[in-house]
C-alpha cells in the first residue's frame, strides 16, 4: 500500500474541506456575482477588485491577515468567542473561512460572466409571462447559467484542494484537523520521504487533470471560456 493512514486522512480532509468550501462559495458567490453582473453602482469596481485580490496576493499575506482577524483579539475572533464558538485558527472551520476567501474569485468570476451573458431580455420576457423574481431565478437564470455554475464549482473545488499557503498560515499542521494533502506533501518532502511525496503529488496532478478534463469535455464553450479567464 503506497499511501499511509496519515496520507488517507489528509486526502479525506482535503476533500471535505473542498466540498464544504465549494458549497459555501456557491451560496455566497451567487448573490455576489449576480449583483456584480447587474449593478450600475459605483461600488461595483471596488467590490470586484476586492473579490479578485486573492488572485494576485501571496497566500501568506491573505493568511496572515485572516490569522490576525480570527485571533482572540481580532474582530472575527471577538465575534466567534462571544458566540461561544471559540477561536477559528488551527481548526477545520478556520480553514473553511480561509479557503472561502482564497477561492472566492474562482467561483464569483465564472458566475458573473454567466449571469452577464444571459442579458436583460430573457428576464424581462419571463416577467411578462408572470414569473416573479424567484421563479425567474430558478427557471431562467439557473438553467441558462448552468455551465457557469459547473465551472465555478469545479474551479472552486480544485483551487481549494490545491491551496497551501493560507492553510499553513491559519491552520498549521494538525493531523486529522488541518493537515490537508498539500501540507502532507510538504511534510514528506521535509522528511526527505520523496517516494510518499510522489504518490500524493502525482495523485493530485492526475486528479486535477481529470476534473478539468471532465469540465472541458462535458460543458459547452461558455464554461470553457470562463476557465480561460484566470489562473
Amino acid at each position: 500500500m503506497p499511501l499511509s493512514t496519515a496520507d488517507w486522512a489528509a486526502i479525506s480532509l482535503s476533500l471535505q474541506l473542498a466540498t464544504v468550501t465549494t458549497c459555501i462559495l456557491l451560496l455566497l458567490g451567487t448573490p455576489l456575482a449576480w449583483w456584480l453582473a447587474r449593478t450600475g453602482s459605483w461600488l461595483k469596481g471596488p467590490v470586484a477588485a476586492i473579490v479578485a485580490l486573492p488572485l494576485v496576493l501571496p497566500p501568506t499575506v491573505l493568511g496572515f491577515y485572516l490569522l490576525m482577524a480570527m485571533s482572540p483579539t481580532g474582530p472575527v475572533g471577538h465575534l466567534t468567542e462571544s458566540l461561544g464558538l471559540g477561536t477559528l485558527p488551527f481548526t477545520f472551520w478556520g480553514l473553511v473561512v480561509g479557503s472561502v476567501c482564497y477561492s472566492l474569485p474562482f467561483v464569483v468570476q465564472p458566475l458573473q460572466n454567466a449571469f452577464a451573458a444571459i442579458g436583460q431580455r430573457p428576464l424581462e420576457m419571463a416577467a411578462t409571462l408572470r414569473a416573479g423574481a424567484w421563479d425567474r431565478f430558478f427557471y431562467i437564470v439557473l438553467p441558462m447559467a448552468l455551465p457557469g455554475f459547473i465551472s465555478a464549482s469545479v474551479l472552486g473545488f480544485a483551487h481549494t484542494l490545491g491551496e497551501f499557503g493560507v492553510v499553513l498560515m491559519i491552520g498549521g499542521n494538525i493531523p486529522g484537523e488541518t493537515r490537508v494533502v498539500s501540507v502532507q506533501i510538504y511534510d514528506h518532502v521535509e522528511a526527505l520521504d520523496y517516494a510518499q511525496a510522489h504518490w500524493l503529488a502525482g495523485g493530485m496532478i492526475v486528479f486535477s487533470f481529470l476534473i478539468l478534463l471532465l469540465l472541458y469535455l462535458t460543458s459547452d464553450k461558455a464554461a470553457a471560456g470562463s476557465l480561460q479567464l484566470r489562473s
Binding site: R121, P122, A126, A127, T128, L129, R130, G132, M144
Partner: protein, 373 residues
Amino acid sequence: MSKAPDHNQLIEAKFSVKLSDPLRSAGAPRFELVIDEQLATRGVTAVFGPSGCGKTTLLRALAGLQPIHSGVLRVNGVAWHDQAGSLQAHQRPVGFVFQEASLFEHLSVAGNLEFASKRAPERLGPEQIEEITEFLEIDQLLPQKPAQLSGGERQRVAIARALLVSPELLLMDEPLAALDQTRKREILPFLDRLKSELDLPIVYVTHALDEVTRLADDLLIMEKGRVGASGPVDEVLTRLDVPRMLGEEAGAVVEGTVTERDSQWQLLRVDFNGGHLWLRDSGEAIGQCTRIRILARDVSLSLADEQASSILNRLPATVIGMADDTDRAMLLIRLAVGDAMLLARISKKSAFQLRLCQNQQLWVQIKSVAVLH
C-alpha cells in the same frame, strides 16, 4: 372605425418616464416621455413614430418593464401605477411580444409555451393550448429547439407564448421589424386573424405605416417623447397636421365591403361610407371587408365630374380644410366624401386656379388605391 370608448375599457395613461444616462446618474434625464392619453382597450391601437420617439418606452412602461417616474396608469379601472404603488411586470395581465422573438433557448418550443401556460392566472386546458398552437400553425414545431426555427416561426411561437399567459392586453413591440419582407408577409395574416378572431386588445408599436394602415383601429403618433396626435386611424390619418409627419405616405384609410365583381373588366366594386370605388380584382370574395388606402398624392380635384377622363373613381366631395404641405409648392386638402375623409395633395397653383375655398363642392378623382387586405 372606433366609437367613443366605454369607461371600463380604457387605458388611462397620464404619466412620465425618465431614462437617464447610466454613466451620469445625476443631472437631466437623457430622454423624457410624457403622456396624457386615454386609449381604448379594444381592437388594435397602433403607436407610430420614428425611432427614438419614445414609443417602445411607452410600451415598456405599460408592461412594467420601465419604471414610471410619476403619474397614474389605470387599465380597465384597475390601477397599475399610482401614488399608492406600482404593479410589478409579473403582476400585470399583459402579453408582450418583442421585436426579436426572445424565446428561451434552453427550452424547446413546447417548453417555451408551457412556461407561459403554467403561469397563466387560470391554467389553460390542453384543448385551449392546442387551439392557440393551431391558430399560429406551430403544432408541428413543438419538439424543436428555438435555434432550429426560422425568424418567422420564432415570432409565431413568441406570439403563441404571449397568448398562453391569458393576457387582458397584448403589447407588441415592432414584431415584424426584425423580419425580411418574405417573413413579414408570412406573419401579417396571423396578425389580421389575431385582430379579427380574438377578443383581445392590442397595443402595437411600429414605425411602418403599412402596418398601421393595415391593422390599426386607433392610432397614436409620437414625436420626441410626446404624443403628436391620437384617435381613430381614419380620422388621425386625414388630419391636416399629421400628414406632415408622414410626408409622401400621407393618405386616408377607408374600410369597405366588396359588393360586386365585374368579370368583363376584371374589377371589383367596394362600397364604403363615402360611396363606392372600382378596384382591380385581386380575388376578394363578395361580402368581404377590406381596407383601402388612398394616398393624398393619388387624389386630384376637379370642379365638374369629368366624364371624359381615364380615371374610374370620381366622387363628389366637400373641402373641409386646407394646410401647407412640407413641400412649399403643395397644399394638403382635407375632403369629406360622404361620411369618409380623404386627403388630396395638389399644387398651390392648381388650388389658386380652381379658387378652392372652405366648404366648396367639387369632385375628387382617385388615380389609384391600394387594397390592404
